[in-house]
Every structure is written in structure tokens, then in C-alpha cells.
């Protein structure tokens, strides 16, 4: 059992090491992998809120942007070291989520669009508050990520991004396995029944929002130091919402590995194929993919693959999905 618990971690680390050994010197492959991993991080944060908290958010760009701006400003203006800046970015994003906590008493579409409203407000604030954020002119010369010894800048960033996403996955798994995780899973079936049993559902959902926002904020901060430039329309852009959602749904948002695997597949397909086929409006195919997944198999590919494997295995009955 102990080995089974760690097999995912070991496999991820091995895949990361193999990737660096094979293509560590190729800046193009490294940069598309980093972009895919960052999509995976946001997809995981989104899926955590969706799976454990039962809430769909169209406003995760708010957290990505808040984390990016907090970290960039702390390192630029206050001289804080970059790793500390990323932690502060995550905390800043969680702090920004506190103003959204009243939205938790809303459900379904109301919550989804209230969060979207917050994301718009944040973007407008970042654009208009020029004395701090320099507005639409943007922040440039943001301090770069530290480079790990023995690696070049891209390979080092790729390793760090991989470890960050792995850390998210471990945190997600720990939450899911905890008492709170059990209560949250019960809430998915019936929130009212869970409340009757004495679970403070609003508190738990609020905590999930904070964890999810901190994860998205850390990714935003990491990205800000990786590319070294920020402007409001990019930091709070719609692509921080579309790509992670498609990735999480594609992989299976109720599983742990689904959002990350989905992000790697979807993000690489978007970069390598979709942009090749449709130089303008390549997100068209992302939308088609999302529609097709929701209609054909809304729980995603990973549970589907699990079912197929179970059916193939002798003695398997093919019952039960890969539900978390």
C-alpha cells in the first residue's frame, strides 16, 4: 500500500527527470512544457474547487493575476527574494479570495458569474491604479526565477514548475484524504444532509476557495517571474480560464491526475497542432473539445480509461468509475 501511495509521485518525478535528460537543452520544448505545466497547475486549482467544493469558477484569472502582481510588486519595489515573492503571491491571491467569501452563499451560475465579476473588477483595478501597477503600460524587468545549479534557465524553470505542480497534487491528495475531504465529498451528494450531520459546509467551501486561489496565485507569480513582464489584460486574461477548464474537463476534473494530464495533452495540442491548423482563432478547437467532452463523457478521459482497463482485466466487472 505504501508503494501504491507513492507510485504516482515516483512516476511523475521519473517522467520529469526523463524529460529534462532528453530535451533539457531544447529551449522550445522546455518552454511549451512549462506553459503546459502552468496550465496544469491552474487546472488542478480549478478542479479542487469544482470537485471538493462543488463550485464552477469562471474567474480564476482573478487569482492568477493577483498572485502575479503581488509577487512582481514585492520583488520589484521591496526587494523581496523571488521564492518569497511567489509565496507572498499565493498568500495575496488567497487574501483577494477573502473578499469573495460572501459569494459562497450563492450557488451554481450565481457563484460562477459573481467570481467572474470579481475577476473583471480586479482587471480594471490593475489597469486604473497606475501609481502602483503602472496600468496598461505594464511592469517590466521583473526579477527572474532562481536558476538551479547544473541546469540552464529554461530547464531549471521547467523542473521548478513540475515540482510546484507536484506539490499542489500532494496537497490536494492530503486534503481529499482528510476529515474535511470526507465531509466535502459527502457534500457533493447532498449538502443539506451533510449540514444536518453538523458539518459547517460554508466554512469548508470557503477553505477550498482559499486553497484553490492560493494555488492559482502561486502559478501566476511563478509565470510573472518566468516571463519577466506583466500587464493587466495578460495577467487577468481569459486564457487563464479557458485552457485550464478545457484541460480539467478533458482529463477528468474529479480525479487527481486528470487535470494535469489533461493540461499536458490539451496545452501541447493547442501549441503544436491547433495553432498550426488555425493561426487565427485556434481556441475554436478548444471550445469544440469542451462541448464534445461534456456531451460524450463529462467525467473526462481518465475515468473512461480506468473503466476500459478494468473491463479488460480478467475478473474485472467494469463497475464504478474513477470517482474521487
Amino acid at each position: 500500500m505504501a508503494l501504491r501511495n507513492h507510485s504516482g509521485v515516483i512516476a511523475s518525478l521519473a517522467a520529469l527527470a526523463a524529460l529534462l535528460l532528453a530535451w533539457g537543452g531544447n529551449p522550445y520544448i522546455m518552454s511549451i512544457t512549462i506553459a503546459a505545466l502552468m496550465t496544469g497547475g491552474v487546472a488542478l486549482a480549478w478542479a479542487l474547487l469544482g470537485n471538493l467544493g462543488g463550485m464552477v469558477s469562471f474567474g480564476h484569472a482573478a487569482f492568477v493575476g493577483a498572485g502575479a502582481y503581488v509577487s512582481a510588486l514585492c520583488t520589484l519595489r521591496l526587494g523581496v527574494p523571488v521564492p518569497v515573492g511567489i509565496v507572498l503571491g499565493a498568500l495575496g491571491a488567497a487574501l483577494s479570495a477573502i473578499v469573495m467569501l460572501p459569494a459562497l452563499r450563492l450557488r451554481g451560475p450565481y457563484f460562477a458569474l459573481a467570481i467572474l465579476a470579481y475577476a473583471h473588477i480586479f482587471r480594471i483595478a490593475a489597469t486604473e491604479w497606475t501609481s502602483v501597477t503602472r496600468g496598461a503600460a505594464g511592469l517590466s524587468a521583473i526579477p527572474a526565477l532562481p536558476v538551479l545549479p547544473g541546469l540552464d534557465a529554461k530547464a531549471s524553470a521547467c523542473l521548478l514548475a513540475g515540482l510546484l505542480v507536484l506539490g499542489f497534487a500532494l496537497a490536494y491528495r492530503a486534503i481529499r484524504a482528510s476529515h474535511a475531504g470526507l465531509a466535502l465529498r459527502a457534500m457533493h451528494d447532498s449538502e443539506d444532509a451533510t449540514r444536518v450531520l453538523g458539518v459547517n459546509s460554508t466554512l469548508l467551501k470557503g477553505l477550498m476557495l482559499l486553497v484553490s486561489s492560493a494555488m492559482a496565485g502561486a502559478i501566476g507569480a511563478f509565470n510573472a517571474h518566468y516571463i519577466g513582464f506583466l500587464e493587466p489584460d495578460y495577467a487577468f486574461g481569459a486564457m487563464w480560464v479557458t485552457l485550464p477548464i478545457v484541460a480539467a474537463i478533458f482529463g477528468g476534473y474529479r480525479t487527481l491526475a486528470g487535470p494535469v494530464i489533461g493540461a499536458l495533452v490539451v496545452s501541447l495540442a493547442d501549441q503544436l497542432l491547433f495553432k498550426e491548423w488555425l493561426p487565427i482563432g485556434h481556441q475554436f478547437l478548444l471550445g469544440v473539445l469542451l462541448v464534445a467532452m461534456i456531451l460524450a463523457h463529462p467525467s473526462g478521459l481518465l475515468p473512461l480509461a480506468g473503466n476500459v482497463l478494468r473491463r479488460l482485466r480478467p475478473g474485472g466487472n467494469g463497475k464504478g468509475g474513477g470517482h474521487a
Binding site: A103, R107, G108, G281, F284, G287, V291
Partner: protein, 290 residues
């Protein structure tokens, strides 16, 4: 200053008429199916692009393009209903994601077909000034306001009096009970979608006549429509009109008194305030959400 304020109130009023049409389509579908169509703004934009294509490629007057826009948005809306009604599990979450997917598809479709450039009508008459005492507007704004009011009044009458309109309200109130009364809920839901598409056709052609269009506008239109639906509360057409005019006026006042960059912020703040302070909207009857 007084003149500026009066002008802002007047412009907001006219803009509100156009917003009401968009919001009503969203509210109709939300009423019957309890889902928010996140691609509703894109339906409106589709009609606007049809008007643009009819004007630029065929040389039509943009107002005549309604003949093409109605079937385009109506059929698209029917297609959306067909896919949404196929969702079985987790309907609330999956319908949001599905219509979000449609919004992404349509936005990028417009981008591919008509590029990211902004377009507006080249008809001089539509853009000429209509002067009413101290108040100015374009011909197109006044015309679209009048058409909006006529459509809203017609729809109000239809919902209140006609058999199909009453069936639609019955399904919105209680789907199972309506079915027991001999109403086919599936067909009624389809009707609400197609009606939303038809309203979007008028709203889109009006949008093209008095404004500029670009592919990314759809999302903002959906959000505005949702804001108005929340402001109005559910189940009243005069409420939707009043909320739409309120939003239009607040936006116009923000532009006049502060800056046009904050225009979008007004709606968002209004939305959040109403959501937290008056969860049943300004005109809605008390009802539990979710």
C-alpha cells in the same frame, strides 16, 4: 452640468432598451430550463455580424438584415437546446460548461470569419443626430429603443395571454406539474430557446446599427444580461426593462462623471451589491436560490 446629466440619463435610457432585449432572452431560458446560457451574448453578436456581412458583402441596409439574422440565431439557439437537453448527469455544472464551450467556439468563429477588427455601420441615416430639445441621440438609438419597447410589450402580452406563453410560464414555475397539465416541457424549453434567439437577432442588429462590434464583445454582453436578470429578479418583464434602464443609466452616468474606463465596473459593482443585499432582485418575488 445639468444638461450633461440629462443627456446621460437619456442615453442610459435608450441603451437600457437594447439591454432589456438581451437580458430577456437569457431570463426566458433561465426560467424554463434553470440554466444560464453563457453563449447568449455570442448569439446577439452573431446577429450583429450577420448584419455587418449583409451590409458589406450584399449591400443591404443593416435593418433589412433581420431577415437573415432571425433564422441564423433561431437555428443556432435550437441547436444549443438540442445539445443542452442531452445532458444527463450534474446538469447545473455541465450546462454551464457546455454553453461556455459554445461561447468559446462562437467567439473564435467570429474571429476567423471577420478578424479582430472593429466594425460599425456605414449607413449615414442611422448615425445622424436626432435632436429632442436639449437631448441628442442617433436615429438608430431612438429606433432601437422603440423597437425594443414594442417587442417587450408584445412578449408581455404573449406570455400573459397566449396558450404557449402560459405554458412557458407554467414550465418555469413547476416543470413536473406543467407536464401533468398536458404541456410538453421539452417543446416548451425549445420554444424558450428559439424565442431567446429571436430576441437576440433584434438586439444584435440594433447593436450593429448604433455601436461597434468585435469578436470579444459577446462575453461582456452575457455578463450584462446576467447582471440585469439578477437586478430584476425572476419573472417580470417590466422588472427586466427597469433593471436594464437602471444599468444603462448607471453606466452613462459613470462615463459622464468619472471615466469611460470605469463603465464596466459600474455594472459589476451594482451586480455584487444587489446579489448580496437584495438576493431576490429589485422586482422579484421572494424565492430560494439554488
Amino acid at each position: 452640468m445639468t444638461e450633461l446629466l440629462l443627456q446621460a440619463l437619456y442615453s442610459g435610457l435608450l441603451q437600457g432598451g437594447a439591454y432589456a432585449l438581451i437580458a430577456l432572452g437569457l431570463a426566458l431560458v433561465f426560467g424554463t430550463m434553470k440554466i444560464i446560457n453563457l453563449a447568449h451574448g455570442e448569439l446577439v453578436l452573431m446577429a450583429a455580424y450577420v448584419a455587418y456581412a449583409a451590409e458589406s458583402a450584399l449591400g443591404w441596409h443593416p435593418l433589412a438584415a433581420i431577415v437573415l439574422a432571425l433564422p441564423a440565431t433561431g437555428l443556432t439557439a435550437a441547436g444549443m437546446h438540442w445539445t443542452v437537453s442531452r445532458i444527463r448527469a450534474d446538469r447545473e455544472i455541465n450546462s454551464l460548461l457546455l454553453t461556455f464551450g459554445f461561447a468559446v467556439v462562437l467567439t473564435n468563429g467570429f474571429l476567423m470569419l471577420w478578424s479582430a477588427d472593429v466594425h460599425s455601420t456605414s449607413s449615414a441615416w442611422l448615425q445622424d443626430a436626432l435632436v429632442l430639445g436639449p437631448l441628442y441621440s442617433m436615429h438608430s438609438e431612438a429606433l432601437s429603443f422603440a423597437i425594443s419597447l414594442a417587442l417587450l410589450a408584445g412578449l408581455w402580452w404573449w406570455l400573459a395571454r397566449s396558450w404557449h406563453g402560459r405554458a412557458l410560464r407554467a414550465v418555469a414555475a413547476n416543470r413536473d406539474c406543467a407536464m401533468l397539465m398536458g404541456i410538453a416541457p421539452g417543446r416548451t424549453e425549445l420554444l424558450s430557446f428559439v424565442l431567446a434567439g429571436a430576441l437576440a437577432a433584434f438586439a444584435g442588429v440594433a447593436l450593429y446599427c448604433h455601436g461597434v462590434i468585435q469578436p470579444a464583445l459577446g462575453g461582456a454582453l452575457t455578463v450584462k444580461a446576467f447582471i440585469i436578470t439578477v437586478l430584476a429578479g425572476l419573472g417580470s418583464i417590466p422588472g427586466v426593462l427597469a433593471a436594464a434602464i437602471l444599468l444603462g443609466i448607471c453606466e452613462a452616468l459613470t462615463v459622464t462623471l468619472a471615466s469611460s474606463a470605469l463603465q464596466e465596473l459600474t455594472g459589476m459593482v451594482l451586480f455584487l451589491v444587489v446579489l448580496f443585499v437584495l438576493p431576490n432582485g429589485l422586482f422579484g418575488t421572494a424565492r430560494r436560490r439554488g
